[in-house]
């Protein structure tokens, strides 16, 4: 039932309940997908602590992020001393293989020259002990969202570490974008089933969804190794899920231009059509047909689409989240007859609308909003008669206000267990989302029925 409320026409300059996080958060997540890497924020202490807390609440795993811990002196005179002390202390306590350094609004505003600082640090301390690899991503939080920060860190890893080499025919770079640990595990399984070697950039599938330990791990195990990252330059191709990225190059584009690695850039594979395109690329790269178990997954997915089609047809959904993610979800919902009435993102690449028009057969049914916050989404959603909301847990208030169920997917999910274990991608991920969505609709139907049917 829609709770009636007068439509608000007020314009707000302020962002009210943001539908995005800041760029350094994205960078820290990406850096945690490298083996032995400690994410390091060059800025004040709060940035690291807030981002740690935010990510720990989602992943429920240790998330150490170091900080150069700016004080007033550093803010006025520059952060070089703090950066050097911070790096030295991280090296002493963590003995990392890589330090992933992301800037913040503070260090970017005062104009710290990071390449120079890191160069000086390296020349000062590299001898006699080899230093960890220092990878720097420029992530001023006044520019873009966590999605952009993530993409920037992924790009920085490729640019800093990949080395051009002799092409290895069975090696593929897999660059999945902002996805769950379970998604990464699933992608690894798929690549292995095609008998492909791969470099996953990044791979936090173990670190951010780890096992219980028998000893404390200063840097949790798992992740793509530096050697693997180096070998990206000699891959036969890259598969990159990146739809709206609009800043500089993507990692895949960089590897194509610098190392001649062919880039297969595509939407996130959610739904049959998008996943088919992903599997087509895998067939092409591996020279192998899709293995039977994945054909069966696809077949079962189609079968379930049929079994549940009546529950979905004409139902109205609201989507929000990262632009790439909502584009993929919108494409999937079209396949099952759900009408996506509102597509919203806190991101603002300028490419959301054109991509929605590309993936939806009839985009006129949908209101598309980029660069919006949850209050704008709520205002727009009030008279849309939605049956379903699909997005991260921050839409709970919206769900409460509309009295419409929320299907929790993506990042962050702060009010439920198991966010790391949600598979969104591929036939299997689509199957999970499909069952979740249909069962949510069935639950409403059952609960609101006076009869209380036990067969539906």
């Amino acid at each position: 039932m829609i709770v009636p409320e007068p439509a608000k026409s007020d314009h707000f300059t302020a962002t009210r309940n943001a539908c995005k996080m800041c760029t350094p958060l994205g960078a820290c997540l990406a850096f945690s997908g490298v083996e032995g890497c400690v994410p390091f924020l060059h800025g004040s202490q709060g940035c690291a602590t807030y981002i740690r807390r935010y990510l720990i609440s989602h992943f429920r795993e240790p998330m150490d992020i170091a900080s150069s811990n700016f004080g007033e002196h550093a803010a006025i005179f520059g952060g070089q001393t703090n950066l050097e002390q911070g790096l030295a202390n991280v090296i002493r306590s963590y003995e990392p293989a890589v330090i992933g350094i992301a800037t913040t609004c503070l260090s970017e505003t005062i104009g710290d020259d990071m390449p120079m600082f890191l160069h000086q640090f390296t020349s000062k301390y590299a001898d006699p002990t080899p230093l960890p690899h220092l990878v720097h991503a420029s992530t001023p939080s006044y520019s873009g969202s966590h999605f952009d920060g993530y993409m920037e860190a992924v790009f920085a890893l490729a640019k800093t570490l990949a080395e051009k080499g002799q092409t290895q025919a069975t090696l593929v770079n897999m660059i999945p974008g902002v996805v769950s640990p379970a998604d990464i595990r699933h992608l690894k399984d798929i690549l292995s089933d095609f008998e492909l070697d791969y470099v996953m950039l990044p791979d936090y599938s173990e670190r951010m969804d780890g096992v219980s330990w028998d000893d404390y791990q200063r840097i949790p195990e798992g992740g793509t190794t530096v050697d693997e990252l180096k070998s990206m330059g000699s891959a036969a191709g890259s598969i990159e899920f990146a739809t709206t990225h609009h800043k500089s190059q993507t990692a895949g584009e960089y590897l194509a231009s610098a190392c001649d690695v062919e880039n297969h850039r595509m939407d996130m594979p959610i739904g049959i059509a998008a996943t088919d395109r992903f599997f087509d690329a895998l067939e092409k790269l591996s020279g192998k047909a899709t293995p039977r178990r994945h054909q069966m997954d696809r077949g079962r997915l189609v079968d379930s689409y049929v079994d549940g089609h009546k529950y979905c047809f004409g139902k109205r959904a609201i989507l929000y989240g990262e632009e790439d993610f909502v584009i993929a979800l919108a494409s999937f919902l079209c396949e099952i007859g759900i009408v996506t009435v509102l597509i919203a993102s806190g991101g603002k690449s300028g490419k959301l609308l054109e991509n929605i028009e590309r993936v939806m057969p009839d985009p006129s049914v949908a209101t598309v909003m980029d660069g919006v916050d949850f209050e704008e989404i709520t205002d727009a959603a009030m008279d849309m008669h939605a049956d379903l909301i699909i997005g991260n847990s921050k839409g709970f208030k919206l769900s409460q206000k509309l009295d419409v169920p929320l299907v929790r997917v993506g990042l962050p999910i702060h009010d439920r267990m198991g966010a790391s274990r949600i598979v969104h991608l591929g036939y299997q991920g689509t199957q999970y989302l499909y069952d979740l969505i249909v069962n949510t609709l069935l639950d409403v139907k059952q609960r609101t029925s006076e009869v209380g049917y036990t067969y539906i």
Binding site: A14, G46, T49, N69
Partner: protein, 508 residues
């Protein structure tokens, strides 16, 4: 379950203390106590502290009829949206996250116009009683004159628009507390106090996490005291305005609100006292000391009667819980050190020994007092980090960690029980019923059967736990049956009791 001997069960690890951190770590009894503290966190040490902004934001957050606008890029607002478990009996405006969401062009050309526009629109729409505007790291750097914008908007809208000087890098979380106190100071003294009687207090430094302010306020009112304002738990702008009319400031959480209490003493001569509401001992002492302050026999008598009744109500269940917990070992890591004192005592009530005690923001006096309270061998930590916590939890063979969300994974990965005592929790842990909630939470985590699968325990605690690893840990299991009017034996009544008190407040 008997306690394990520290010497025989210490678990080796390869974590070394950073040289720059050594003075901030001490083991009680091993040397003359002289811990270093109140220092900027060591760069690269992964401090659990936040920043100046965080300090201001957490303190002012519960004022629920004020607008809270964060002037800066989006992160600071995103990560503090609805972050505290601070509940309101009325307005919910504090749970909204407002940000000027500064963009590159604002950083280049300045954000003053955007701030002013944002404020005018928000105030017109939400009609708050006052507005707090928080400065974040870059505001000072780009040269925005926040004071001037606030003055202009205040003149245009007729409400107090108060700048909070909370640039993240300009000190520590404690400096954020101080910035918040200065902001509050501008409100205090602006309200009518003519109806306030002599037996009156302000509750300072309780934030109504899970309804705690309601519980405490109810105690004081049952004693016969008038509570003029609660700063800031379930706080209201108009109540804060008349806070100077109260005869006494009762201050909890020494770090955050001491500043305001001092300012009020200087300006209005309002005396203040420090209390804590955690644990039977400290809760009772708070009520007695407040009664003593007024020198009123009736107040004291009512306090004594109430303490007796409340303690009798919770003791039967506490005794049962204590049987299961006797000899367990706990680590405590809190924001302010004052809470750590109460936790050491509360744990003692439950038969649990403290092996590690630390805080983010303690001062030398705090740590001296903490060390006096703790047994020899207790590790005292200032501004620690995940590696140190892990190191000492292993070396002291600790069973339970009390901290916040950031500390939780350290405990869980090591097969150690955990109790969330941070401001993000949703349960009331203050007062007598809070003590029972605390005991239940600690008991529920320590006695859970899941730990028997922990690889860490299987590897390191084989010798001490092997015999009973597959035996139930708990002799007492809460029934989870809600019996209104009773506390003992049930699983959830205390929460309901708390909510009832809250509802009463609304009714008033």
């Amino acid at each position: 379950m008997n306690g394990h001997n520290i010497m025989t069960t210490a678990i080796e690890n390869n974590i070394r203390l950073l040289e720059a951190r050594k003075a901030q770590v001490q083991t009680k009894g091993s040397e003359p106590f002289n811990i270093a503290c109140e220092k900027q966190s060591v760069a690269g040490s992964v401090s659990q502290r936040a920043c100046v902004f965080c300090g201001s934001r957490v303190v002012l957050y519960p004022i629920c009829d004020a607008l809270h606008l964060i002037h800066g890029p989006i992160g600071c607002a995103s990560y503090t949206w609805d972050i505290r478990g601070a509940v309101s009996s009325g307005p919910q405006l504090h749970r909204m996250s407002f940000s000027t969401d500064l963009q590159e062009k604002d950083v280049i050309y300045g954000g003053e116009k955007k701030l002013e526009k944002a404020l005018l629109e928000l105030i017109a729409h939400y009609n708050p009683k006052a507005a707090f505007v928080y400065a974040t790291c870059i505001v000072g750097l780009i040269g925005d004159d926040m004071d001037a914008v606030c003055r202009r908007v205040s003149a245009k809208t007729g409400i107090d628009v108060i700048p909070v000087q909370s640039e993240g890098f300009a000190g520590s979380k404690k400096d954020g507390y101080s910035a918040a106190c200065h902001a509050l100071d501008t409100l205090v003294g602006t309200g009518d106090t003519s109806t306030i009687g002599p037996l009156s207090i302000n509750i300072l430094g309780d934030f109504n996490i899970g309804g705690e302010t309601w519980v405490i306020k109810d105690y004081y009112e049952r004693m016969g005291l008038e509570v003029v304002s609660t700063i800031t738990g379930d706080g209201r702008v108009d109540d804060i305005r008349k806070a100077h009319g109260a005869s006494l400031n009762v201050v909890q959480c020494s770090g955050s609100m001491k500043g305001l209490a001092r300012m009020m003493k200087e300006k209005y001569g309002t005396p203040f006292m420090h209390v804590s509401y955690f644990g039977i001992e400290d809760m009772s002492r708070a009520l007695y000391e407040v009664a003593d302050h007024f020198g009123d026999k009736d107040l004291l008598k009512r306090a004594q009667d109430m303490v007796r009744d409340e303690v009798m109500r919770i003791m039967p269940e506490l005794r049962k819980i204590r049987q299961d917990l006797q000899g367990k070992k706990a680590a405590i890591y809190t924001g302010g050190a004052f809470k750590a004192f109460s936790l050491v005592r509360s744990l003692r009530t439950l038969g649990v020994k403290t092996t590690i005690a630390g805080s983010q923001t303690g001062n030398p006096t705090d740590y001296k007092q903490l060390a006096e309270l703790c047994d020899d061998g207790t590790v005292i930590l200032d501004d620690t980090n995940p590696l140190e916590l892990a190191k000492f939890i292993q070396e002291t063979d600790t069973d339970l960690l009390i901290g916040g969300v950031k500390e939780r994974p350290i405990a869980y990965k090591l097969g150690v029980a955990f109790c969330d005592h941070n401001h993000e929790r949703k349960d009331c842990l203050a007062g007598f019923e809070g003590m029972l909630n605390f005991a239940r939470e600690v008991h529920g985590s320590l006695c859970s059967p899941v730990w028997k699968f922990s690889p860490f325990r299987q590897k390191h605690k084989e010798t001490t736990e092997k015999q009973d690893i597959f035996k139930p840990k708990a002799t007492y299991i809460p029934t989870n049956v809600v019996r209104p009017g009773e506390t003992s034996g049930g699983g959830g009544e205390t929460k309901f009791a708390t909510l009832t008190i809250g509802a009463t407040e609304v009714a008033k």
